[in-house]
Symmetry: C2
Subunit: 329 residues, 2 copies
């Protein structure tokens, strides 16, 4: 399955009518390996509802292209200013900022072109175009990136990590107004953990959850929705998979934060501790390491519970969910 994804991705960007330099820049980032989590979710969701892999593959590639373009743009100097990604120099460090912006734009556009060429009933394809756009756009991934950026650059910072590192205690001190970050509407995030402690840290955690639900959760649940839709699944099944997706997405982010503290550079392919250095809001900074780990496990268990009604058919998605919290890179 993994090999099929790699092959399909390579074919999807072997465009003889693109300028060679653009094709190079696009291939550099898209074909750089990575976990291919999102395509895998598309294919597993499709398989669960009896879909054929070839019908789901355009969506699998499209969502990986969206993910890759977002990494290229996020790494730019005016955004996160990262030099390394997946153990290699970032796109703009090789091709320059202008080309990196254009390579991202090209991938984003190509994702929709590819999706529009999906075999199957046209009304299903149209639905998939809208799922992808909703997951990737201003109410999803791009919106989450905006909130993330504002949280990092605004007056709000997480509690000092060094103090909180080995404790799950929460400090109260910020005012309630802080739920509004730089004038951004403080929409209520999904309530995954029930009522938080009545102090502003809980508001900050709510904000953090909202950011990640949009920034990474939307695309992960979108992947599952795309896969199920490509197989002709019923709307309530698509919704169930999306709920599973939001939970594993959040668990994935918590696991990422934990790896940033406890991982080593060789396995991560990036500098550990970087998030802390940047003063980024992270879950361990609020909850401490042990509670973060526990909450990630709870999310995974809830996610898997949602799939119980599918019996044996859900075994791979459950497996994958558990891998997310147990991985070391």
């Amino acid at each position: 399955m993994r090999t099929s994804v790699e092959e399909a991705l390579a074919v999807a960007v072997a465009q003889t009518d693109w300028p060679e330099s653009l094709e190079d820049a696009v291939r550099y980032s898209l074909l750089a390996g990575g976990k291919r989590l999102r395509p895998l979710l598309v294919l597993l969701a499709s398989e669960m509802f009896g879909g054929r892999m070839e019908d789901a593959m355009p969506a699998a590639c499209a969502i990986e292209m969206i993910h890759t373009y977002s990494l290229i743009h996020d790494d730019l100097p005016s955004m996160d200013n990262d030099n390394y990604r997946r153990g290699r120099l970032t796109n703009h460090r090789i091709y320059g900022d202008a080309m990196a912006i254009l390579a991202g734009d090209c991938l984003l556009t190509r994702a929709f072109e590819l999706l529009g060429g999906t075999p199957g009933p046209p009304d299903r394809m149209i639905r998939m175009v809208q799922i992808l756009a909703a997951a990737a756009g201003g109410a999803g991934m791009v919106g989450g990136q905006v909130l993330d950026l504002e949280a990092e650059r605004g007056p709000l910072r997480g509690p000092d990590f060094a103090e909180e590192r080995d404790s799950s205690s929460q400090t109260c001190g910020e005012s309630a107004e802080n739920t509004e970050i730089n004038g951004t509407k403080a929409l209520k995030p999904p309530n995954f953990f029930g009522k938080q402690a009545n102090c502003s840290d809980s508001n900050l955690v709510d904000q953090l959850i909202r950011i990640h639900t949009m920034k990474t959760g939307a695309l992960i649940s979108g992947a599952l929705d795309l896969g199920a839709t490509s197989a002709g699944a019923e709307p309530q099944d698509c919704d169930r998979l999306k709920q599973y997706g939001y939970r594993i997405g959040l668990a994935f982010q918590i696991a990422d934060d934990l790896l940033d503290i406890t991982g080593d550079q060789a396995r991560l392919g990036k500098t550990p501790g970087r998030d802390v250095d940047l003063g980024k809001l992270t879950y361990p900074a609020f909850w401490g390491i042990d509670e973060s780990r526990q909450r990630a496990k709870t999310l995974i268990s809830e996610a898997c519970g949602l799939l119980d009604i599918y019996g044996e058919r859900a075994v791979w998605l459950k497996e994958l969910a558990n891998f997310i919290v147990e991985r070391d890179h």
Copy 2:
């Protein structure tokens, strides 16, 4: 028609589920006026084939969103580094580079979401998604932008403008290898003008035509294709309109270059002479002012000739073509 476009654009980005700051940044650029040439082309092409305006409007808005996102990204410091656009500060000058990148990404994604919601038969919508993606992507607008960037930054420059300003003479001096710009494949551009003089300037002009055919021509002919397709036109009619589109697109670019030399800042909304200052390749630099004007007129006349078979139905598109070379802003 113009008012309907403005209203539809405003509605299309009134997204209560986007972060407020993102919505602000998007609206700042999308609702800043402008000629709305591309939406107009969509609507006129649709009307020509008996389409209803409401069926063509999503495509009209989508293509203007693509155009606007490309302007936002092009204006960035790492690209053209422009401070003014349509007489106002550019997006990144107001909202910062990071937000400008994200506002562009958001518009690009929203364009496809909107197009996927077009009323009408699903197979037609799917066709429209592919038309838009092909026109906007690596083989179209984004690819043209890459070539443009490389031409500006590479060793190749146009002949010195001051020398060529009032002359249509061509100087030979560059070697033939220069048709390959920075290792970019030198695909043959469409031959709008027959055989050029046998010297490298003709190769440079060919490159320039190729750049503009991709960078602006693809989106303009895509607009016409979208409009005709939304009305259910036959493929040969769509092709005919695309040919018309490539010609008016090129004439539009030549007219732009001429305005950069002869226009005044108030009407242009940007600094005249800027292209020359930047050492950009321009048509007047190759052909001189008079011949450039003549060639633009010839293109318009060819474009209009293509529409003769439609009789009275083509009157507005012909009118628009003539406006392109006669406008003063």
